[in-house]
């Protein structure tokens, strides 16, 4: 596993959570990160919308809009059709 793709988030309880960033996309003016849980406890990807907080931090919010989620995921699938096995 290449560490360079790992990003560490801080959850609401101040616990670090590691994700592996698989892709970053711009969609409708927002930036989305397509992530994999770094501990591989799931084979699903998580799509986070990136929101600016301050000069040092961004907030990563799981996209709640299913339409956007699907659009980003479809794009991710196209872009990475040779990189992943999509089941």
């Amino acid at each position: 596993m290449e560490e360079k793709n790992i990003i560490t988030f801080i959850d609401q309880n101040n616990h670090p959570v590691d994700y592996e960033i698989l892709d970053i996309q711009e969609y409708n003016g927002n930036i989305y990160c397509v992530c994999y849980l770094a501990d591989n406890s799931s084979t699903e990807v998580y799509i986070f919308r990136v929101e600016e907080v301050d000069d040092m931090h961004d907030r990563y919010v799981l996209e709640a809009d299913d339409q956007i989620t699907q659009a980003v995921f479809e794009s991710f699938k196209k872009r990475n059709k040779d990189n992943f096995k999509f089941s």
Binding site: Q12, T43, V61, K85, F86
Partner: protein
């Protein structure tokens, strides 16, 4: 012997006085009608007239090197033996003749190219052959007399050649012997260094001591063995992979070479346990397997590609599909390699773009932006797919150059070895002749003290002779440097591809409706991306051209000459030059416009060169020089000039003299006046070489219109032809780690692989680069380019440099354009 010389004679020795002796080499008759000298010259091939190495005697009586006038006189010719001369001669270093040049490497190169292509495209038959040969080779790794060696077996030579392990075998044995206290192989190498006067020196320029040199060579051997043995490399890869298994994985049975050595030192076992090294490859996957059985509670597939790396997965599941090895490069590995290339291309494109912008006076693009980082993170991945064919060709082309170079290096080394062998044998003969002569002298000499002295000299010669014998033996034993491994995809890329997520499964997307709202605080995504991709291979300064001393000069050229002019051609074809600028002591000095005035300024290898030539003036050329910021630096020009004379006094001038006349002016105006009015000097100009000063000729030759590379830097001389003007070359230095970037640029922009070989060869040898013209070999493409995307892009290429247009590196891509990574059809 014909004529009046005698056919055979006993070698008679006579004492000639002054500590010299004479060995009789010839007898002839001096008589009316006979020309003794002519006959002797015919018989001996030596002109004896006034020859200080020979003494001519009449009837055994010395005749002061001349011939008496007596009739029918027999002349005896003695070759003079001078003991001190012999001593000097014996102590002289070995004179190495020039090695025989060899350029006939086509067949070997073809073979290596094919081998490379077999590896690139995964030739199954070759893969099986490799496996069989490797297993056979390693099965003959035995311990003999306490050291590891590949024992002889009938197919050993062929296996070594196929596996490219000849040098490996030699070094393994040499190192292994040394670790058991037998340093003889290293001593042989050192003896060769001494014999040829090539003892390596340390960083202070002092010759290494014997023990220090042995240590150094042993370290080099360790490194070589560790990096040139595929089995070991795989082993190392596996070790790295094991780390992904966490603490349990790292406890795996792993014995890297260095640890073996250290362990041996600790335990006192002085054995280089290469066999354990080879066998250990087996124990590693077993360890991984046991770990998985004991620790995983999840389906194993979820670990594959992340926690479980592909090679181990391969071994566990006996899969034949996911891991690459020699002769088994998968499409995904080629993809990885292409991605690597296109990443570097992006950097190069930015450099080119910024040069363009700078020329137009526009601010350079800043790579340290989120947009660029984002682009860099993803665009190469798309290009690796959409431009797959080009990428594959680039990879193969770049490797082909390495192969060709390596094959030539290999051949040169062989020739060098042969040449040394010839020189050593000649030396041996020389010493043996000296011994024979001294023996004759010793037999003649009656004086005991002189005989003792002769014996001493003989003893010294015998020692030398022994040394030479050992050198001959060592030279015969030395392996020539191995050729490069021909896998065009580097091991690191294989590793990366193996580790990459190609085997990972994405089962779907986690929706907020199902997993709930999640929100995290994290680092700025822009900074995070920059951290990932910021450490690029190319350092891009904010301002592309910071240290230019001279405003680009515009040289008018005739419209008919607006093709790919070299710098030299541009100068030769132009009939006037205007606006020569120079910086002196912080002030700008403008020379007046004058016809036939030519100027250039450029930096080469850290030195600033410049020269301005006026029209022919007899055998001389007028020239002036560029004034650097630091006047002291201006004398760099004189490094390439033969003689400089004052125009008025016709006396030699130094750089300082000239600088004083120009720079030490009180103000720029005065300086400019002096500059224009008559601070002139002569350049001693030899011949009529394209009517420029000698230094200028050299300087011109040093300019390359293209790209050159040192080990760390790429220097780009950019020449732009714009309308009717030619811009003076602009030199850039950018750090690039992979020479493939160069071939990539060329291949993408040039439309053909023209000069690829030549240009990359320039990266190897500055000297060669300086000597050779730009027109190099045409490297044949690996496939018949029926489609011509490259040529199309070239079209109206107006760039003297590479002709790369901005559009070539455009980040846009069309998913519909993705080209499947189809097998290459060149074989």
């Amino acid at each position: 012997m014909n004529g009046n010389g005698r056919d055979k004679m006993d070698k008679r020795i006579v004492a000639l006085g002054d500590g010299t002796y004479g060995v009789e080499v010839y007898r002839g008759l001096n008589a009316p009608g006979l020309d003794f000298y002519e006959q002797a010259k015919k018989d001996l091939g030596i002109d004896l007239k006034d020859n200080p190495n020979y003494c001519l005697c009449s009837d055994g009586v010395e005749d002061d090197y001349g011939i008496s006038e007596s009739i029918y006189e027999e002349i005896i010719v003695y070759r003079i033996i001078n003991l001190s001369d012999i001593i000097t001669r014996v102590d002289e270093p070995l004179v190495m003749p020039e090695p025989i040049a060899s350029e006939e490497m086509e067949e070997e190169t073809k073979g290596k190219n094919q081998d490379m292509l077999d590896k690139l495209w995964g030739n199954a038959a070759k893969r099986r052959e490799y496996k069989d040969r490797y297993e056979r080779f390693i099965s003959h790794l035995v311990e003999r007399d306490g050291y590891s060696v590949i024992e002889d077996y009938p197919e050993k030579a062929q296996d070594e050649a196929f596996l490219q392990l000849t040098e490996f075998s030699y070094r393994l044995e040499r190192l292994s012997r040394a670790q058991n206290g037998d340093h003889s192989k290293y001593l042989e190498a050192i003896r060769l260094y001494r014999c040829t006067g090539n003892m390596p020196k340390d960083e202070n320029g002092k010759e290494y001591t014997e023990s220090a040199l042995i240590d150094l060579l042993m370290r080099q051997d360790e490194e070589y063995i560790a990096t040139n043995n595929y089995a070991y490399n795989q082993h190392q890869t596996t070790h790295q992979n094991l780390k992904t298994l966490g603490k349990h994985g790292e406890k795996g049975a792993y014995y890297p070479l260095r640890e073996i050595v250290e362990e041996n030192e600790k335990t006192g076992r002085k054995k280089f346990n290469a066999k354990a090294l080879a066998l250990d490859v087996v124990s590693v996957p077993m360890n991984a397997f046991v770990f998985l059985l004991n620790h995983t509670k999840k389906p194993i597939y979820s670990f594959v590609g992340t926690a479980v790396v592909a090679p181990i997965q391969d071994l566990i599941f006996r899969s034949k599909q996911s891991a690459a090895s020699v002769y088994k490069s998968l499409a995904t590995h080629r993809y990885q390699a292409r991605k690597d290339i296109f990443e570097q291309l992006m950097d190069m494109a930015l450099v080119i773009e910024n040069i363009e912008r700078e020329k137009k006076g526009e601010p350079p693009l800043n790579p340290n932006t989120f947009g660029y980082a984002l682009k860099k993170a993803f665009v190469p991945r798309f290009q690796a797919l959409s431009r797959a064919k080009e990428g594959n060709i680039i990879i193969a082309s770049a490797k082909a150059i390495e192969i060709e170079e390596s094959a030539k290096d290999h051949e040169r080394a062989k020739k060098q070895q042969q040449t040394l062998g010839i020189a050593l044998v000649a030396r041996k003969k020389e010493l043996m002749d000296a011994l024979t002569e001294l023996d004759l002298v010793w037999q003649t000499e009656k004086d005991p003290s002189k005989r003792q002295h002769i014996e001493y000299i003989q003893e010294q010669i015998r020692k030398k002779l022994k040394d030479v014998d050992l050198c001959i033996q060592a030279n015969n034993d030395q392996p020539v440097p191995g050729v490069v491994q021909t896998d065009p995809i580097s091991l690191s890329i294989h590793e990366e591809a193996n580790r990459s997520n190609i085997t990972r499964v994405v089962s779907g997307v986690a929706t907020a409706a199902r997993v709930g709202a999640i929100s995290y605080l994290g680092p700025k995504i822009s900074k995070w991306i920059q951290e990932q991709v910021g450490e690029t291979t190319i350092k891009l300064p904010d301002k592309v051209v910071e240290e230019r001393h001279v405003i680009p000069e515009k040289v008018e050229v005739k419209r008919s000459a607006l093709e790919n002019l070299s710098i030299g051609e541009a100068y030769d074809k132009s009939d006037k030059v205007i606006d020569y600028y120079a910086h002196g002591a912080g002030s700008q000095v403008a020379a007046p416009t004058r016809p036939y005035f030519r100027g250039v300024d450029f930096v080469w290898e850290g030195k600033e060169y410049s020269g301005v030539c006026l029209d022919n003036w007899g055998n001389y050329q007028y020239a002036t020089m560029h004034l650097g910021r630091n006047p002291e630096s201006s004398d760099k020009l004189f490094d390439v000039l033969a003689h400089v004379y004052s125009e008025t006094t016709h006396q030699p001038m130094t750089g300082k003299d000239i600088i004083d006349q120009i720079v030490n002016s009180s103000d720029p105006e005065t300086a400019a006046k002096k500059f224009s009015e008559g601070v002139r000097f002569w350049i001693d100009y030899d011949g009529d070489t394209s009517k420029v000063a000698e230094g200028w000729v050299e300087a011109k030759d040093m300019l390359v219109d293209f790209v050159t590379k040192t080990s760390e830097h790429v220097e780009i001389v950019k020449k732009v032809i714009e309308g009717d003007t030619v811009m003076i070359p602009l030199l850039q230095c950018r750090k690039v780690v992979d020479p493939r970037i160069l071939s990539a640029v060329i291949a993408l922009s040039g439309g053909e692989f023209v000069d690829l070989y030549d240009l990359l060869r320039r990266t190897r040898s500055k000297t060669e680069m300086q000597k050779q013209g730009l027109v190099g070999r045409v490297l044949k493409p690996f496939e018949k380019a029926t489609d011509k995307p490259l040529q199309q892009r070239q079209t109206d290429n107006v760039y003297g440099f590479t002709g790369t247009r901005r559009g070539d590196y455009d980040s846009s891509y069309n998913e519909e354009d993705f080209t499947p990574d189809t097998p290459h059809k060149t074989r």
